[in-house]
Symmetry: C2
């Protein structure tokens, strides 16, 4: 089966990759490292790479997302698949896991608000609330 | 290592037990089924079992909690430990997992609000935000 490692561009992606590896080894599963390029990232990309009015090359956008997955997965010694998607991050990840009939989705753990309070990221919260498969929230440990 | 299955008295405990079993088999771990008797449950217990002013028998309170764990764990074919605790449910579970150096805490997944919206239970939300070890949120699947 597939373990979906949902990574963003923060350093919290490391804990997701580590936890996905632990699970993939225990279950002899395959890791799919998934990054979703959100609309805002996409807009930034469009601004730097294309002039206004240029047609959107969806394939190259997905390639960028998949490169981010690949970078995050670097510490993995075992084979993995780097997957790039585009759209609403939590929807895309939940749907992808569903399509793959994934065993788990691994997400990053809590983060700290500017005042030091432990909070969920909004993407992770939405994945936890909407996933059809169990979700593993990784920690630094 | 230890897999902590955090069970309440709802039928969602079943999905927690099932998921704990999957993990315990993959990692060759031991399952500790933990129920925490909250202050309100404790008060109800006191009302039905003792007259006002009677001394509180902590041992018997913990026994009640551990009986609830044992009941929830009934579908398990493998050995488990039934653990009864008393106090703030999320604090007690997080501390217990920490003491045991648990591999995972398994909690029940989302539930539905009276209006049908997917929500976390407040205990689970607090466990997710405070646990030192990874938390697995089980689903019906």
């Amino acid at each position: 089966m597939v373990i979906v490692a949902a990574v963003d561009r923060s350093d919290r992606a490391d804990t997701v990759i580590k936890q996905a590896k632990v699970l993939a080894e225990a279950f002899a599963d395959t890791i799919h490292v998934v990054h979703v390029l959100s609309t805002s990232e996409f807009v930034n990309l469009g601004r730097t790479k294309a002039k206004e009015g240029d047609p959107i090359d969806m394939e190259s956008v997905k390639n960028v997302a998949s490169n981010i997955s690949e970078e995050a997965a670097e510490p993995l010694s075992r084979p993995f698949e780097a997957v790039g998607l585009m759209g609403n991050p939590s929807d895309e990840i939940v749907n992808y896991a569903d399509e793959q009939d994934a065993r788990y989705i691994v997400v990053a753990g809590r983060k700290r608000s500017p005042t030091g309070k432990a909070i969920f990221g909004s993407v992770n919260q939405s994945i936890l609330l909407n996933s059809e498969c169990p979700v593993v929230m990784s920690t630094d440990n």
